[in-house]
Amino acid sequence: MKTEQFKDPAATEPGQWLDGSLPANVQLGHDTVIKGDQAFHRFQSKREPAVIIGEHSTMDGVHFALGTEARVEIGDYCFFSNAILLCEQELRIGKYVVIGWNATIADTDFHPLSPAARIQDAIACSPLGKGRRRPPIAAQPVVIDDDVWIGPNVTILKGVHIGAGAFIEPGALVTRAVPPRARVLGNPAQVVGTV
């Protein structure tokens, strides 16, 4: 089958969102492309800037679900397809990082662990909670170093640091730091080798 070229090669430089107008606090480097009409559907960040992506990166079907205080930094030559980035605080991703289909990265617990605080949170989030503040919710930055490969259906939880060159097998649930060039698999993810 003949593959279709982009209609206008110039449309891919400088950085562009092909399916909408980019929020003002999102900065894309030269030749970086975001595809997918849902990319900023859940984008609420007020940070300046909120998202910085380097050059020559491809974000195909990625969801940038950022809370009001969230900040995401992504390096050059990254390739993410249909990844879900759930960020309340900070997500720092290096260069040459690949993230597979339906992978989720979250830097937050979304709700408090304490049952009493969770009731407060349920009320604050409800239609009756107008103006009520949500209780504090645990969040810790996620840091992914250069050259990391993350497979489809992977989940990466808050506070995780993934070392350079690590290989995260499909479906892994990563709850702890991964050493550089480690290959991890499972739930919870365990080191099964090196690359």
Binding site: M1, Q5, F6, Y77, C78, W101, W149, P152, N153, G186
Partner: protein, 202 residues
Amino acid sequence: MSLAALNRRLPWDWYQGSIPANVELEGETHLETTYSFLHYRSEETPGVRLGNGSTVYLGTMFDIGPRGQVRIGQYALVHGAWIICDAAVEIGDYALISWNVVLMDSYRAARKPAARRRQLEAVPGSPRRRLEAAAAARPIRIGRNVWIGFDCCVLPGVTIGEGSVVGARSVVAEDVPAYTLVAGNPARRIRAIANDEIPEAI
């Protein structure tokens, strides 16, 4: 009405696409949408073959490379799988594949970071900015009458034997024998499934 008469379009389709010429539909099949072929680029004949009585629902994506071939057996039900195929993915007759399942015969990515960098540097100049395969593919085979629960991953080179069941959210990294229940991430054997628990096929 025949597919040719419909110009390889589906009358109920919400997506303005058509079924690629090298996709074969045997007898009566149900394909929900041609959106499933968004990432399809197989040049093989057939690139995808759907058996008589098989069903492919929305959410299924045929992410098939130029040399990939997918065969879906008779009465098989694919309820929304992401099929990553650069060589061969076979789904047997009567197999049930749940939603958000990943069936992959290739990692596509090179294992070594240096090789992966060269692969990524080729993306911006490639047609449709795809990450083209830089790793050898190893065919996967899902046997007849296998049931795979939702959110599972089946990794390259894996064969799942006839009549076996894979619990939801499992990651299958090794072969599964016939008539065996496996679950977990990575998937482990839970128990055998007695042959007589399997009803006679139609």
